[in-house]
Structure formats: structure tokens, C-alpha cells
């Protein structure tokens, strides 16, 4: 990690206690810290805080954190209220891996000078490393508030939102921001995760056109194109990147992976050989070469490559699987069984593995176990086929629903749900379609099935609450609304529904709390505003 130095304004505030905290990291005393002659001379000439800062920075840049710390200690003695120096201390401790110890000096720096971005970012990074996510997020948000254009702050906040799965917020945050590679990649990822692949592709294509040498952009675009099933274009982009970065192993690996995925083995195989000859111990070159040789029927060669690959990365389930395939072809059933078992134990879920495993088991006479594996294979493939059927029927149903034919939609959703009885989302959509047809009894039944499958399906909980409320069962309605807001605290409508239900039972204080939650989320929510008025009036009358 490079030791970045930032210029920060200083405010003189005494804090000897914090000094002690800063240096309680148990560092071995740096007996003789000598920096470059020029800086030493400057220090001798003017032993002021800035000279110490300059020298300490030099030590930090050269990863001599003990000396950096000692030098900053000296600086703090001269300017004990310096936000900059506290920041540098925090940075040093963080760089040296003393994350916990970095917290206090960084907090101090922020306390002294809260309107500087970097300390917030650094403190956020420290909290993040300590898995104190909420505190990390608060620091990043603070940084963004100070400087809404700070790319580091935007990047940090975006990543935090991405980790939370809040892709919509990332899109909202980053869409208007001028180009920056990190932010472009964050935005592309948010688009991708939101299944807005066209937008992701457009964004990355434009960025790559402007910055054709960016490997990160080309890798991201390739990934998006493959997710869009535009294999040929993906191949072109990956190839271009590989040509631009002929010595970048990651670029070469990526290109080779795309070629293998696309089945372009006439190009892939000679390329794999060339890359492997240049980097004979590279896991990916060994692994992909193994796959290619398997496909070509060269099982002996495949076995050699893949044996080396699994030795390099014993936790790569697909390498074990492919080695198993090669061994099976070579009739080494015992070896194949071992590899396929390993693949499964590492979490492989593809049904094909069960199939191959069954073949290996039969090869060594374990026919009963082989039958069991084939049974699992059949179950998995059947489940996949049923899922495909459900998705297709569901999509047709959505079409019918959108075109105003809820009856047809109901029939199709029923077929989809029959094919995928564990799918809460489909159940919920069926319920909505039933609602449109006026069949609330069936709707209620289906909604109950939906929340049984997924109690956190907030929309279903809310709808059930609504039906129960209409049906004169406020207790049940309340429970469902509470479940809805528990599952989705940002679900304004559910808060409003809860508030209304509580109000109907004259539980005004609770109702007011619920309304307040709704208005926090959406201050202009008309229903919530009206309800608040009504609550006020109701309480006034009492």
C-alpha cells in the first residue's frame, strides 16, 4: 500500500492523552531513524513540525513505519493540536496493519478539523476492515457531504451500497457524475446487478472508446457482453485487450477464458499452449489447457495439466471436476471418483458432476451409490427444467396481465407455480393476478403460501395485511404489516398501513410512531401526512 500524504490544515489543540493512545501500539522503539541527508539537514536547520512531517512522510513512503511514527511523535510534541499530524499517525498505523490503533488518531483528526475529506475516508476504511460497517458507512457519507464531487468518497459510498445490494442508490448517485474509471466500474456493476445489462454495456462501451487502454474497462465490458450472450463481441473486446496488453497475464488469462467459453478452440488451444510455455506454473493456463485437451480427447495431456492445476489451487472445484473427467476417460475410476468427490465437497452444484460421479462409481462396482447419484442428477435436471418452465410461464403471464387479461394471467401463473412450488415470487404474482379478477379468497390463500415460503416477502405481507384489514381482522393485519416493515424498513406504504391499523384501534401513540417512520422515508407522502393530521385531531378530541 502506498503511503499517501495529504496536506491538512492544523488546529492547535492540546491532547496529551491522545498522544499516549497514539503510541500505545507497542511498537519497537526505532533506535536510529535516519532519513535522507536533505531532510535531515532541513530538520537540523529548522526543527519545526513541518520538517518532522516531511521526514516522517519519507519514512512512510519507504514503509519504515516505526520511524515514521517516531517522527510524527516528535511533530505532535511541537503541534499537539494538529489535525494533519493525527491523520498521518492514523495513516501510518493503518499502513502498518494496526487498524484498531489507527481509529483514535483519525477520530481526533476529524474532531479537530471535521471538514476535510481524507480523514473520513481513511477512518471509514479502518472501520470497514474491522467489519464495523455502519460506522464505516457514516464516515463515507460524511466525506461525501463535505465534497459531493470527491471521487474517493463516491467510490467508497458506492462500494458500500453495492455490498448492501442497494444498486438503485448507486445508480442514482453515480449516473450524473463525470467520468472516472473507478466510478464507471461501480456504476456498471450496479447496472449489471440490476439486470440493466444494456445500460451497463453502453456505459462501458463509451468509456472504453475514450480509454481503450483500460484493462479494467475492457474486462468489465467483456463480462457484460457475455452476460448478454453477445459472445462474439465479448471475444472481440477480450482479444483487443489481450493484444494491447501482451505482457499482462490477467489480460491473457481473461482472453483465454472467453475463448474457452465461446468454444473457439482453434484459437484457444494454440494460445493456451503458448501461454503455458511462457508461464508453466500459472493455474489458469494449466486449468484452461486441461479443459481444452479434454475437449480434444487428449485425456493424458489434460490429466497432466489438471493435476498440476489442482496442486496449485486445491479449492477450485471445476479443476477437480475436469481432472475427474480426464481420469474417467483414461478409465482410472478410483482417481476419477476421488476428484469428483472433491469437486462436490467444494460446493459444485452442477448436475453433470453427479452424472460423471455415477459413471466413476459404476466403474469400481459401486452400483447402488451410482444409482443414487443418477437419482440426484435426475432430480436436479428436473428441477432446472421445471424452473425454466416456470420462468417461461411467468413471463407469459406478465404479458397477459400487462395487456389487461388477468384471467389468462392467473391460469399461466398457476402453471408456473405448479412447476415451481417453492417460488414465493411467483406465488405473489399469482396473488396479484387473482386480486385483479376479484377472487380475494384465493388471493388470500396464495399469499399465505407465499409468506410461508418467504416470510420476508414484504409486499406479500403488506397485501395480506390489507386483506385482513378489509376482512375485519385488525390483529392479523397488524401482524402482517409489522412483518412487512421488519423485512423492509424502507417500505413506506407498509408503515402507513400499520399506522392506519393502529389508529383504527385507537392506539394513537404507536400509530404516530409508525406515521413518523413513513414520513422519515417520504416526507411528502400524502397518505402519511393526512393520517398524521387525523391522529392529531383524534387525540385532540379525547
Amino acid at each position: 500500500m502506498l503511503f499517501k500524504m495529504e496536506i491538512v490544515k492544523t488546529v492547535a489543540v492540546k491532547s496529551t492523552l491522545l498522544l499516549a493512545v497514539c503510541f500505545s501500539a507497542g511498537f519497537a522503539a526505532a533506535a536510529a531513524c535516519s532519513g535522507p541527508p536533505a531532510l535531515q539537514a532541513k530538520l537540523r536547520a529548522h526543527a519545526d513540525a513541518q520538517s518532522y512531517i516531511d521526514l516522517g512522510t519519507w519514512f512512510g513512503d519507504h514503509s519504515n513505519y516505526d520511524c515514521a511514527l517516531e517522527t510524527f511523535r516528535a511533530a505532535l510534541k511541537l503541534e499537539p493540536g494538529s489535525a494533519q499530524i493525527y491523520y498521518l499517525v492514523g495513516l501510518t498505523l493503518l499502513s502498518a496493519g494496526h487498524v484498531e490503533d489507527a481509529i483514535e488518531p483519525l477520530k481526533r483528526s476529524i474532531f479537530l478539523l471535521p471538514e476535510v475529506v481524507k480523514p473520513h475516508l481513511l477512518l471509514g476504511a479502518a472501520y470497514d476492515q474491522l467489519h464495523r460497517s455502519d460506522e464505516a458507512k457514516a464516515q463515507w457519507q460524511a466525506a461525501l457531504q463535505i465534497d459531493p464531487h470527491s471521487t474517493e468518497a463516491l467510490d467508497a459510498v458506492s462500494k458500500s451500497l453495492l455490498n448492501d445490494g442497494d444498486y438503485a442508490s448507486v445508480i442514482e448517485l453515480l449516473r450524473p457524475v463525470p467520468y472516472n474509471e473507478d466510478l464507471t466500474l461501480d456504476l456498471a456493476l450496479a447496472y449489471g446487478k440490476s439486470k440493466m445489462l444494456d445500460e451497463a454495456a453502453q456505459l462501458l462501451t463509451k468509456a472504453l472508446r475514450a480509454h481503450p487502454a483500460s484493462l479494467r474497462l475492457s474486462s468489465a465490458l467483456t463480462t457484460v457482453l457475455i452476460n448478454q450472450v453477445h459472445y462474439q463481441e465479448a471475444g472481440k473486446v477480450a482479444k483487443e485487450a489481450a493484444l494491447r496488453h501482451p505482457h499482462d497475464l490477467e489480460a491473457q488469462r481473461f482472453y483465454l477464458r472467453v475463448l474457452v467459453l465461446n468454444g473457439d478452440s482453434t484459437i484457444a488451444r494454440p494460445l493456451a499452449r503458448k501461454l503455458l510455455a511462457a508461464s508453466p506454473h500459472d493455474f489458469y493456463f494449466l486449468y484452461l489447457s486441461g479443459i481444452l485437451e479434454n475437449q480434444a480427447g487428449e485425456y493424458g495431456i489434460a490429466k497432466d495439466h489438471l493435476t498440476q492445476a489442482v496442486a496449485l489451487d486445491p479449492n477450485h472445484y471445476n479443476a477437480h471436476y475436469n481432472l475427474g473427467v480426464a481420469l474417467l476417460a483414461l478409465k482410472d475410476f478410483t482417481g476419477a471418483k476421488e476428484q469428483l468427490e472433491k469437486s462436490l465437497s467444494l460446493g459444485a452444484t452442477e448436475p453433470e458432476i453427479r452424472f460423471k460421479y455415477a459413471t466413476a462409481l459404476r466403474g469400481i462396482g459401486e452400483n447402488d451409490e451410482a444409482k443414487e447419484q443418477l437419482k440426484l442428477y435426475r432430480e436436479q435436471t428436473h428441477a432446472m427444467a421445471q424452473h425454466a418452465l416456470a420462468v417461461n410461464k411467468s413471463a407469459q403471464a406478465e404479458k397477459e396481465f400487462a395487456s389487461g387479461d388477468p384471467q389468462k394471467a392467473v391460469a399461466l401463473y398457476k402453471e408456473a407455480f405448479a412447476a415451481a412450488p417453492e417460488d414465493a415470487q411467483i406465488a405473489f404474482k399469482l396473488a396479484l393476478a387473482l386480486d385483479k379478477t376479484g377472487d380475494t379468497a384465493s388471493e388470500h390463500t396464495v399469499l399465505e403460501q407465499a409468506i410461508k415460503l418467504d416470510p420476508n416477502l414484504a409486499l406479500a405481507q403488506n397485501q395480506l395485511g390489507y386483506l385482513d384489514s378489509r376482512g375485519g381482522d385488525p390483529a392479523s393485519a397488524e401482524e402482517h404489516f409489522r412483518q412487512a416493515v421488519r423485512a423492509a424498513p424502507g417500505y413506506t406504504q407498509a408503515w402507513v398501513s400499520l399506522a392506519a391499523t393502529l389508529a383504527m384501534e385507537s392506539r394513537f401513540p404507536e400509530a404516530e410512531q409508525a406515521v413518523a417512520s413513513a414520513l422519515r422515508l417520504d416526507p411528502a407522502n400524502a397518505e402519511a401526512l393526512q393520517l398524521r393530521k387525523d391522529l392529531t385531531a383524534a387525540q385532540a378530541q379525547r
Partner: protein
């Protein structure tokens, strides 16, 4: 809990997020190692001069909205008038908007001079629906071959009246179906060894055009590599398949339930080939299936079947992946006396070769025998047949797109019209794909083809090829096999067994080799071959023949001279058969 995504994770999961890396992907054509060998056959497309000029309408040539427009159709070589010269029957279709004036299935009478006459109307076979497949067999044992056609809609049984005409006896035979089904493959098969041809029908998908989805990028299975295409088969409902027992009185009974066939759901059925896979004397049924495991129904000898394709190695690809199984070639590629299978597949999938050890246990030898490289085209009709009479069965494949829209987006990768492919048997258990430059224009010309049938229409001792081309006239490839190679043809006539001898297995021994073939009513893609079993003998001038009849009897004949058609009648030996030359 959603995964914590970082850019690094996205890159790392590139293979996992996409098509599974476990599935072998396209392996572009590697080198073809065709030995500089003896001359091979030359093929000449004589369809036009032969009078096969009617366009076989089938869906829109540029854009297919629904999958029913895609699969058709099959064709047949069969001798409907018993004059010893095989005639031609080709299935056609219609368009979504309706039948096209003048379009129909077509029956062409062989004039014995290299030309054919369209006798469709005269024969009573005019029909323009979504016809898919044909199987041929004498279901009423009256000595005349009948036809069973599958449709999206109502399948039809045409009884051959023996006078050049046919009658639709579907209703009379008890074969009317309720509801609309997507009939696909079919086979006459004597599954209970009573001497009568029963009927197995596979269905493709369940689809109701009233609610079926249309090409869309937003609906899974309704697009391909970013191009909206006709939906399916994935995501469409799984149909039931049917078995009908021949009652011996011109009618059939639906025994799907009691036989266990009705319980088979989960596969999209295509070509049906009935043969004795495990050589126990009882007919088994193999169904090539699309995007789902293919099926091998093993005969329990008691009127029921058990499905064992998975455990017997013919359900899936060698990696356990489901393949788009379309057509089936049946023969003995390695001359070990057992029936092997060749199955054509979807684009980006190699045609599969499955070696039978004689016990109905199959090994996927696709890569080993030299088929792994060729994956460029969606492949349909096929035959494991000796084209050059050198004594080693070759493989011919016809191809064509399932989605003409793909060509606009990917003109090089997914051209709509594709060439025929020939894999020449090297004589050592492997094949070599013959390069376009060697095969001649009739093979290398490009069409959207589906079914093909193999037969000797000119009775010159080699196998010609009839090909159904969508929205074009058919191709009729006359085979000019190299002179010097000998052959023998065998026509079987059942007496106790069904008259067509469907289900018979012949072993022919020549020059230290043994080759197995069987009489089937359907193979290739939804098509039916000339029922005369054709064996190339290479340099050998004599052969020994062993026949295993479907009712269990075995007969053998020694030292038969090459270059002739032998007619063997069950229990009566070699008889004077139909005219040959």
C-alpha cells in the same frame, strides 16, 4: 444474503456467471485426417431433372415466430406400389397465416428412368398442415406399405389401398387424439411379438399458440445470443408420448398407461428408432430428445417398458449435459456385429456416436471416433450407411438453422443455410470429415434441411440420398459410388413376423468382417429409409447372411454372391422378390 460483489469477484466469477464451464463448448473443426484413400462416391443433385420441383413450404423462411414452424419435416423412400422401385414421399407444411395454395405433402412415383411423377393428388395424399415426421410399415399385413404421419395437430394413418391410392383411416383405426398435440417421431414396432406392427409416437412440446410467447429478449428461452428467436423448447411444457397396440383388425388400442409410456414426462421427443438394443429378441425403443435426456425404453417382455437411457449411456453427452437430440443414424460403424447409434444435435454440439457392446450398454465415443470437432451447424437428418460400398458404414448429415434471424446478427457464425457433411469411415473405428473441396457441390451446397432418407432409387447398387429442404424443392442426390466395390441388398418379408419385417436384425459376414443392420420404420430425422438393407462389401464378392426375425426365429444363408438384391421370406428362404433392374 446476496454475495458481496467487487470488481475482482466479477472477474473471478466470469466462467461461473455464464455458461457452465463444465459443458464442453464448441470445438471448431480441427484437422481432417482423411487418408489419401481410395476414391469416394460422387453425388449429383438430380432433383430438378427428376421432376422433384415442388417447393416444400414450411414456415416463414426469414422469421419464425413459433417453434411449430421450425422442425418440419421428414421424408421417405418407400415402394408404395411394390414394383421394386422405391418411390418418394416428402412432408411439407404451411405458414402461420394458413396453407399456401398448391403446397402439400408430396408423393412421387418412380418412373424407373431417373425421373419421378407427382401422384400426390391421385394417391389421395394432398394435405397442407404442419406435418413433421413419417414412418412406414405394413400395419395390416396386406403386403402394401402404409404411412403414419405426425403433425402439430392431428396425426394421420394412411392405409395403402394397393391400387396407388391411400385412405386416411385415422379415426377408423382409433388413433384420433383429443386436443392439439405436437406429434414428432413415430415408429411401427412389434413390441409384443404378435406379428402385428404396433405404433409408438413421440411428442415434442406442449404449446398453445393462443398463449405462447413470441420472440423476445425479455423472456428466457425466447432468444439466442442476444437475438429474439422462436421460444423453446426449454420453458415449454413436457408432453406425454404414446404407445398403441395393434388389435389385428385395423384398429389400435392406446396402451400408453399400462405400458409405462404415459409416465414418461420430461423429454421433448424427436426421432424414434425401434430396434433390439440388448439383442434379447425383443424390440426396444430409442427416442432422440431435444434439450432433454434422450430415452431408451427397454422392453420388459410383458407389454411394459422401463426407461434406462441414462444408465445405458445414451441419454446425454459424455459430460452429462443435455443435448439437442434431433435425428438418429443406426448401424454398425465398427463392424462388431452390434447396432450403434449416431445422433445429430443442435449447433455448437458435436454429432454423437454411441457404441453398443451388444448388451444395450452404450459408450459415447464421439471424441474418440473423430466427431468432436464439427459443431458448426444444427444437424438433423443422418444415416450410418455405407456410401462408397467399401464395407465400412459412413455418416452423412444434413443441416440447417432453427432461427433464420440469427444469420442477420451472426452471418459467419450462424448462417441459415448449411452444407451437408460426410464423415468417411476410415476402417479403423474412426471417421474423418471430408473437406468441402472433396465432396462436390451437391454435398457442399447450402440449404435449410431437415429430414433425409437413404435408398437406391435407381437400383444401381448404391445408396442415394433424398433430402427435405425447407421452403425449397427437395434434393435428390444420386450416388455414383466408385466402381470396384461390391455390395449386397437384402429385402426381408415377414410371415409370422410382420410383413414389413420391421424389427429384423441382419448380420452380414464378408472378408472376416461382420456388419449388423436392422429394419426400422423410422430413423434419420423423422424419416424412413428404403427398407432394403444395403451392405457394401468392398472387394468381397460373397457374403454370409444371418437374419434374426422379430418373432425370435433365426435363419442363415451362406456364400451369397455380391451385387444383387436378395429377398428372404421368413421360413421360406430366398425367394423371387420384386423387380430390381
Amino acid at each position: 444474503m446476496p454475495p458481496k460483489w467487487t470488481r475482482r469477484d466479477l472477474l473471478r466469477t466470469l466462467p461461473a456467471a455464464l455458461a457452465t464451464p463444465l459443458v464442453p463448448h464448441a470445438l471448431r473443426a480441427a484437422t481432417t485426417n482423411a487418408k489419401a484413400a481410395a476414391p469416394f462416391s460422387r453425388f449429383v443433385d438430380i432433383a430438378s431433372s427428376a421432376g422433384l420441383t415442388q417447393t416444400m413450404v414450411y414456415g416463414d423462411p426469414n422469421h419464425n415466430t413459433y417453434i411449430i414452424e421450425v422442425n418440419g419435416a421428414g421424408c421417405a423412400f418407400f415402394d408404395y406400389d411394390n414394383d421394386g422401385w422405391v418411390d418418394i414421399f416428402i412432408l411439407g407444411g404451411r405458414k402461420l397465416e394458413g396453407p399456401v395454395p398448391g403446397a402439400s405433402n408430396r408423393l412421387y412415383h418412380n418412373n424407373r428412368d431417373g425421373t419421378f411423377t407427382d401422384v400426390t393428388s391421385k394417391a389421395g395424399l394432398i394435405d397442407a398442415g404442419w406435418a413433421n415426421g413419417v414412418c412406414v410399415g405394413d400395419y395390416n399385413n396386406d403386403g402394401f406399405e402404409d404411412l403414419y404421419l405426425t403433425y402439430y395437430g392431428q396425426n394421420k394413418l394412411y392405409r395403402n389401398n394397393g391400387d396407388g391410392t391411400f385412405t386416411d383411416v385415422t379415426a377408423k383405426a382409433g388413433l384420433l387424439e383429443t386436443g392439439t398435440r405436437f406429434g414428432s417421431g413415430s415408429a411401427f414396432v412389434d413390441y409384443n411379438r404378435d406379428g402385428l406392427l404396433d405404433l409408438f409416437v413421440s411428442n415434442y412440446v406442449e404449446i398453445d399458440l393462443a398463449t405462447a410467447a413470441k420472440p423476445s429478449l425479455k423472456i428466457p428461452n425466447c432468444n439466442f445470443e442476444g437475438v429474439p428467436t422462436n421460444c423453446g423448447p426449454g420453458g415449454l411444457g413436457f408432453p406425454a408420448h404414446s404407445l398403441y397396440r395393434n388389435n389385428g383388425d385395423g384398429t389400435f388400442s392406446d396402451v400408453s398407461k399400462e405400458s409405462g409410456v404415459a409416465a414418461l414426462r420430461g423429454s421433448y421427443g424427436f426421432t424414434v428408432v425401434a430396434f433390439d438394443a440388448d439383442e434379447d429378441g425383443w424390440q426396444d425403443i430409442y427416442v432422440a430428445c431435444d434439450a432433454t435426456p434422450s430415452m431408451l425404453l427397454m422392453n420388459n417382455h410383458d407389454g411394459t417398458f422401463r426407461e434406462e437411457a441414462l444408465i445405458r449411456g445414451v441419454a446425454l453427452g459424455s459430460g452429462g449435459e443435455t443435448l439437442g437430440g434431433m435425428g438418429v443414424g443406426i448401424g454398425d460403424y465398427d463392424l462388431d456385429g452390434h447396432i450403434d447409434l449416431v445422433k445429430t444435435h443442435f449447433v455448437n454440439q458435436a454429432t454423437g456416436v454411441y457404441h453398443n457392446n451388444g448388451k444395450g450398454e452404450f459408450e459415447d465415443v464421439t471424441a474418440r471416433v473423430g466427431f468432436a470437432a464439427e459443431r458448426r451447424f444444427s444437424s438433423w437428418g443422418t444415416g450410418l450407411v455405407d456410401l462408397d460400398n467399401d464395407g465400412h458404414p459412413d455418416v452423412l448429415i444434413v443441416a440447417g438453422t432453427v432461427a433464420p434471424e440469427l444469420e442477420r446478427a451472426y452471418p459467419n457464425k450462424y448462417p441459415a443455410r448449411d452444407p451437408r457433411l460426410i464423415f468417411r469411415n476410415q476402417g479403423n473405428g474412426t471417421f474423418a470429415e471430408m473437406p468441402e473441396a472433396e465432396v462436390g457441390p451437391a454435398i457442399s451446397s447450402r440449404h435449410v434441411s431437415r429430414g433425409c432418407a437413404f435408398g437406391d432409387f435407381d437400383n444401381d447398387g448404391d445408396l442415394d440420398v433424398l433430402i427435405m429442404n425447407r421452403n425449397e424443392p427437395p434434393s435428390l442426390l444420386r450416388n455414383d459410388a466408385p466402381s470396384g466395390n461390391h455390395w449386397i441388398k437384402i429385402r426381408l418379408e415377414g410371415v409370422q413376423s410382420n410383413r414389413s419385417a420391421i424389427g429384423s436384425r441382419a448380420l452380414v459376414r464378408y472378408g472376416g468382417k461382420v456388419q449388423a443392420q436392422c429394419v426400422v420404420s423410422q430413423s434419420s430425422f423423422l424419416s424412413s429409409n428404403d427398407p432394403r438393407l444395403h451392405f457394401g462389401l468392398g472387394a468381397e464378392t460373397f457374403a454370409d447372411v444371418e437374419i434374426h426375425w422379430p418373432t425370435g426365429k433365426m435363419e442363415s444363408f451362406s456364400h451369397l454372391a455380391a451385387d444383387q438384391l436378395i429377398t428372404i421370406r421368413e421360413g421360406q428362404g430366398i425367394v423371387k422378390g420384386r423387380a430390381f433392374r
